[in-house]
Amino acid sequence: MELIRKLGEVDPRWLYVLLVLVVLIPMVSPIGLPINVSAYTSNAFALLDSLKPGDTVVFDFGYYVDGAPDVEPIAVALFDHLFSKGVRIVCVSYKNHGPMIVDKLTEPHVKAGKEYGVDFVNLGFLAGGETALAAWAADIKKAYPTDWKGNNTSTMPILQGINTVADFDMFVFYTDDSAEVWVRQISQYKVPIIGGLITVTAPQAEPFLQSKQLAGLLVGLRGAAEYEKLMNKPGTASAGMDAQSMAHLMLIAFILFGNASYFIKRSKGLAGKGAAK
């Protein structure tokens, strides 16, 4: 009893040390836990897998680099998947870190032979938030007369025949924020929308999936790991799942210790009802 009570009073700094260890060890020596694919991911994968060579898709980057660890593995997996299918990708940025993120993510594909302006383009960031999104969705070449590198978009091969968002075969956005912006501005164009979200914002997006305003959802590192499994190409997301499992287990254990300690103290009259510790 005394040990459990003490476990509920451990200095949080020990908790930090333990957290570092439980995250680091599985990364150095992976456990290889099985990953089950959720219905969300398999539905989104099926939609993206149905694209044909020559189809054109929008990737809208709506996250800052601090949200990247949870959402970027989704973008990495989708770049791999769609480029391998010969799908063309038009990258735009809802947030100002986007152009640099696109540059980083497309670099290995450029080295592998993908041609800028033909297979993909980085249009860059437009200030103005939701209004800017509405503007380029209605007339892409007017809002983006040049791409991020200053090339004229009207003569760019990848944008021939594309004037509005309705001309794309699919719209994928990645965000560390709410999905509402894209639902409000893009769903009216009747183009299938897939959202790549960080784990904490995904529950807010579920109503849009049920109302079919979103065609698919990919959620956080877990969603990326499931996608990698469906592609049969394990990557960084799959490697991170063991670490996430161990961190979750450790947190659950400490929450249980904390509660056991709280109830022991309460039974002895040492903790008041409603006390935080």
Partner: protein, 207 residues
């Protein structure tokens, strides 16, 4: 005049946006796209204005030798370096890429990762079953943590069925309720602004 013109302008522009959304008039659609492109230009200028304002504030802080002057100097140096690298060397230059890939990216990721420690500490210290509500929150949270991690699924294969039900029924009902009520609130606020009843966005206060 100073009060009326912005209110009338806001009302007309708002009305055009609403008409374009609900009706298929080519002329209105063209005006809407034009207005939206104006917003992009104005927003770009406001970013530049914000940068100038930031520079003035921090320069004043340094010259007055206020607390945090060193941080202000650091901010100004990095801001000028990034701007020079982007404007003069180009956004594909190694200097600009260095700022993003070697400073902004790892620093921001480190800050985000630090949140894990705060969450761990807060969960351990404050996530207590004080009463029935707190216990329900605690049990649901722990179940979701188990279901979202592969190890939890491996040990409790039935857990995802329960958590999926929680997410797609209980969570959905709650989120939908919040969304509908906030949307109705948004419509009311928009109507007040467009009709000139609420003037707080112009710095004129509410009537």
């Amino acid at each position: 005049m100073k009060r009326e013109v912005p209110i009338v302008l806001a009302g007309i522009v708002g009305l055009i946006q609403i008409l374009e959304h609900f009706f298929d008039f080519e002329a209105i659609a063209a005006v809407t796209v034009e207005l939206q492109n104006w917003v992009i230009i104005v927003s770009a200028f406001s970013l530049a204005l914000a940068a100038i304002n930031l520079a003035i504030n921090h320069t004043q802080k340094i010259s007055a030798k206020k607390a945090g002057a060193f941080d202000s100097a650091l901010l100004l140096i990095t801001m000028v370096f990034t701007a020079v690298a982007g404007i003069f060397w180009g956004m594909e230059s190694s200097g600009f890429k260095f700022v993003f890939n070697a400073i902004i990216d790892p620093a921001a990721s480190a800050f985000y990762a630090m949140a894990a420690f705060h969450v761990a500490s807060a969960a351990y210290r404050a996530f207590r079953a004080h009463n029935a509500h707190a216990a329900a929150l605690l049990i649901t949270g722990v179940m979701l943590m188990i279901a979202k991690a592969p190890i939890g699924e491996a040990w409790f294969p039935w857990m995802p069925t329960i958590t999926n039900w929680i997410m797609s029924v209980l969570n959905l009902a709650g989120v939908r309720g919040i969304m509908i009520s906030s949307a109705i609130g948004m419509i009311c606020v928009s109507a007040r602004i467009l009709l000139g009843i609420d003037r707080s966005h112009l710095g004129l206060g509410r009537d």
